[in-house]
């Protein structure tokens, strides 16, 4: 297998574990190279804080579907069923489930499409993309539809969202969620997203929630993080870079791209953004993210200096923000709309 380390111009010395990393690796039963990366990213004590979240799970959250119901009304309805909610500070229509988590997927209100069960981090990409009814939006890896239904809601069911995914099973789930949530403005295409590159300069806004290693899901699925090899991150990064190039091609000049992953690996995030910025110098810029949450993206990590603007990206961590580990950034294709 051809591992694309060269694409990203890295020397793998950075994963050589230090004593500190070996100590944490033994204590938390993770591969030492993974811990070494965390120590380099976060420092020893914060890396340990992150590791203590492994397997602990995350608090559930819901996004109120304002296409169907007002959020106060939803709150009252659920509270009458013993489900207590608390507003998420950084999302007006998002709520933490404080009590009654076990019931949240089994209510009539869920079937009526009044809400979507979703981690708050995953609510951010559509908010950041900020589509309106005037937009032609592409959701590149859309299934099972959390972000697609959110985009449709922000567009008040007008304009067009093209939702693409290749998996037959996941596309079926997407369709069910679209129906349940009362979404009308979506066209679903089941295809390999690479085929979309024929639609050059078509979309005003593109959402790429890229397939990733899932390293940000350490709280939910630590086993899959334990199994990861360094090659996996770079293979994923090569795929993400390819998808981001397609996103660039299909975006109209002046249009915007939001890139996100549920991974905290710089290899899948900052390295990919750095590479795409190098590739499209003066044609693609990072936009500032105006959200009241998160840490800055790294512009220097593992001893590698990256584009300074990458600090405009946003990172979320389970130990700090109580969300999935998440990365998000917003790019604009230079040119006249």
């Amino acid at each position: 297998m051809n591992i694309p380390f060269k694409t990203f111009n890295v020397n793998l010395n950075y994963i050589e574990p230090s004593l500190q990393a070996l100590h944490l690796a033994e204590k938390y039963d993770f591969p030492a190279y993974i811990i070494e990366r965390y120590v380099k990213m976060l420092g020893y004590s914060e890396a340990e804080e992150l590791l203590t979240t492994a397997g602990k799970g995350l608090r559930k959250a819901i996004r109120c579907n304002r296409l169907k119901i007002g959020c106060n009304e939803l709150r009252q309805l659920l509270e009458s069923k013993g489900i207590k909610l608390k507003k998420i500070d950084f999302i007006d229509y998002g709520f933490w489930v404080i009590e009654g988590e076990e019931k949240i997927g089994h209510t009539l209100e869920y079937l009526y499409g009044f809400y979507y069960i979703q981690d708050p981090a995953s609510m951010l990409p559509p908010i950041l993309l900020k589509p309106t009814y005037k937009d032609m939006v592409l959701d590149m890896c859309a299934a099972p539809g959390g972000k697609t239904t959110h985009l449709a809601e922000l567009m008040q069911n007008r304009g067009v969202v093209v939702a693409v995914d290749i998996s037959r099973k996941r596309v079926r789930a997407l369709r069910s969620h679209l129906s349940r949530m009362g979404v009308e403005n979506v066209i679903v295409i089941r295809t390999n997203v690479e085929e979309l590159s024929m639609l050059k300069n078509t979309f005003t806004k593109v959402l790429l929630d890229a397939p990733c290693s899932g390293e940000g899901l350490i709280s939910i699925d630590p086993e899959s993080v334990r199994k990861r090899k360094i090659e996996d991150f770079y293979l994923m990064a090569a795929k993400q870079l390819k998808l981001l190039k397609i996103a660039y091609e299909v975006t109209r000049p002046g249009g915007e791209i939001v890139y996100s992953t549920c991974s905290i690996a710089p290899e899948e995030n900052e390295f990919v953004i750095n590479e795409v910025l190098n590739m499209y110098k003066d044609k693609l810029v990072l936009e500032k993210i105006e959200l009241n949450i998160g840490d800055k993206g790294y512009n220097n990590v593992f001893g590698i200096t990256l584009n300074p603007n990458i600090e405009k990206c946003l990172r979320l961590y389970p130990h700090k923000h109580e969300t999935e580990g998440f990365f998000i950034c917003k790019l604009r294709k230079i040119g006249r709309k």
Binding site: L108, L111, Y112, M136, R158, G159, V160, V162, V171, R172, A173, R175, S176, L178, S179, R180, G182, E184, N185, V186, I187, V188, I189, R190, T191, E195, L196, M198, L199, T202
Partner: protein
Amino acid sequence: MSKLMFVPITGKDKDKILSKLAQMFGSVKVKEFFKSKELLITRGGPRQEVFIVSNEQFKFIFNKIKPILNKEPYCAGIFAGIYGKEFRPSIEICEKMFRLTKRNAIMIDNHAALLFSYGRDIMLKSILRIYEPLHRIVVVVDSHENVIGLCKLTVKNIKNIKNNNLIVCKNVIDKGWYLRKGY
């Protein structure tokens, strides 16, 4: 089996669909609802599905997806139902039409609503309100007028029935189907 294709519905086929909905919800509102919308049907698949799309969606499908990508959508807009010998409307379109017309529906109590969402039928005693006129296929709503599904009346005149425990409407489809089976 030939390749599945989305094609516009015209002529008799379109009339058949609209007249079925008009029988259920009245012709005025049905006409109004479909005024600026396009109807598409799938041909060549295991079943003929009908979708309602906006002009923008229609243009994107016929100007971009088909000619440039050489693909067909998986689904688009609002799923309106299945076309066959008879047109079978979906919950989605019936929900929209009920919101506009407030007719052809029965309201049931919350306990019965929960049972209906698990696929159960409706007994007379569960009915709280009737939104007349009723068609053979009726919209089922809970006490807050949230649509739970569709049922088929098993009696001719529901108001003449005295036996409270009699099943008066059989479950055709309910929203629990999204969880139990899905598309």
